[in-house]
């Protein structure tokens, strides 16, 4: 188990979203748009991510200085932080399972970019004990250019 001290070493995303209220499950009707989630991809965040996933590619680390970043952001880091903020925003009940992930990388992203993720419920389907929630993601940079789009699916306990 992680101690408080270990948790305190967590790299904190620079979250730009102001109103970070939770969205309750009964609000998650098809078509519901969550308030946008914004965060900044600073160098410390990206370095920590690369270390955590064991990524050593010289696409991301300078070949003559393995401590320094090239400035390119691994695309799944962008998705990961969007997902982390999305899960913090959603009040999914314990036992919910992340079952599907679809994501398309549309544009290279550089360290320092501010990302905004728009999330919209595309399916909230219950039948008996089966409850499927699907959310569409649209991820933009500070120029409002799309950098990723995708879809995430959860099975919720009924």
């Amino acid at each position: 188990m992680l101690t408080k001290a270990q948790k305190s070493t967590t790299i904190r995303l620079c979250i730009m979203t102001n109103d970070f209220q939770k969205v309750q499950p009964d609000q998650l009707e098809t078509g519901y748009e969550l308030p946008p989630l914004s965060y900044n991809l600073d160098a410390e965040v990206i370095a920590k991510y690369l270390e955590a996933v064991g990524e050593s590619s010289s696409l991301y680390w300078q070949s003559d200085n393995r401590q320094a970043l090239t400035g390119l952001v691994p695309p799944l880091a962008i998705t990961t932080y969007a997902m982390t903020l999305l899960l913090q925003r959603l009040s999914l009940p314990p036992g919910s399972i992340h079952v599907t992930q679809e994501i398309e990388f549309l544009k290279e992203v550089r360290v320092g970019t501010t990302i905004t993720c728009h999330a919209r419920v595309s399916q909230n389907w219950k039948r008996g004990k089966f409850h499927l929630l699907t959310i569409d993601l649209s991820i933009l940079d500070q120029s409002k250019e799309p950098v990723q789009s995708g879809k995430v699916g959860f099975i919720l306990p009924s």
């Binding site: 996933v53 064991g54 590619s57 696409l59 691994p74 982390t84 992340h98 992930q101 990388f105 290279e108």
Partner: protein, 146 residues
């Protein structure tokens, strides 16, 4: 690993060709490090006492951690093109536990010609040391036609 140049190049690519395989050992230390990096401290990942009482019987890795290995494989295969033309569509089939050894693999399903572009469609897979599929799905990549 570590080179920027892709290991697979367009002129030689063929249907059925294997993507470069990756093997990753999953430890609780990896999982904790990922929790710290991502900010996802769901107790099912990091609290062994909590997780032991859950239906999983122990901690499990974050799905997005395992998915990052698939993205790494695609980066090794196709280099920088993956960052602005890649696509993943996967299903998480089974949990990954501390102590598991995950093999990430794939092959080229087909190569399609699009307007001024080529799309390479791949089958991708993550399996544990018992041969159980933990992630399955498709990836694709759009490349400019040379």
């Amino acid at each position: 690993m570590g080179e920027t140049e892709p290991t697979l190049r367009l002129p030689e690519l063929q249907k059925g060709e294997n993507l470069p395989q990756l093997v990753k050992n999953i430890t609780q230390e990896n999982i904790n490090l990922y929790a710290q990096a991502s900010g996802d401290f769901n107790p099912i990942h990091v609290d062994e006492d909590f997780a032991r009482k859950s239906p999983y019987g122990g901690t499990i890795a974050h799905g997005m951690l395992i998915l990052s290995y698939l993205s790494q494989m695609m980066t090794i295969a196709f280099g920088r093109s993956w960052l602005s033309g890649g696509k993943l569509n996967v299903r998480f089939k089974e949990p990954v536990r501390s102590g598991d050894v995950i093999t990430v693999s794939g092959n080229i399903r087909n190569i399609e010609q699009e307007e001024g572009k080529i799309r390479i469609n791949c089958n991708v897979l993550c399996q544990n040391q018992r041969g159980e599929v933990v992630i399955t799905g498709e990836s694709s990549l759009r490349l400019p036609r040379k």
